[in-house]
Symmetry: C2
Subunit: 119 residues, 2 copies
């Protein structure tokens, strides 16, 4: 789960192809093996999770999540090789952005009221 | 106004001391000379704008916005020297973060579906 102070989205026209919420959803699908379980783990509705997966799959040149047909709410889902590659690059990008401004962030923190500097 | 794909917040405990919305509000106060005009320009309620200003002023070691008393909805507001310093550092930090991952962002864009690459 990301609780970073830096949020980065990959735009696709007016849509967001990738962002913190979608990245977390990919992780949850990877670990649970289904969209419905992933949605439950993240406290979001199945419809919301499915919409996010659908958006990702349509925005990228290849699907990030493959779903097995059959059964209500699907017969399982997994993150594709391509999905893993996108997720890996996205996470690395966020880490690099964070590291690049760590010193500047710290300088701004010194301008905060004292009680925060102690936290 | 920021429409960046990178959003950075400066946390203060559970609060956000600075972020894209607050930075835009400071700009709007600077150019309009009052919180109510700034709120109107940004399409937010006066209460919302005032709450954001109050949060900023309480999170930092010095006020970012000074208000003149008198009159309903105040007799004008201005961004302090300290507020300018915080805003300048914050904007520079966002630009640096964007520049640091520009190449990586571009790599991810090449993985998007073709219609986006054409946009």
């Amino acid at each position: 789960m990301s609780s970073s102070n830096i949020k980065i989205r990959i735009p696709y026209g007016e849509l967001s192809a990738m962002g913190p919420g979608k990245a977390d959803l990919l992780d949850a699908i990877e670990s649970s093996g289904s969209i419905s379980a992933a949605a439950r783990n993240l406290g979001m509705s199945y419809k919301r999770a499915w919409d996010l997966v659908d958006t990702m799959n349509r925005c990228f040149s290849q699907p990030l999540v493959s779903t097995a047909t059959g059964g209500s709410h699907g017969g399982g889902a997994q993150v594709t090789e391509f999905g893993h590659a996108v997720l890996r690059r996205y996470r690395a990008l966020v880490v690099k952005a964070e590291q690049s401004v760590a010193a500047e962030l710290q300088e701004l923190v010194t301008m905060l009221a004292l009680s925060a500097a102690e936290k």
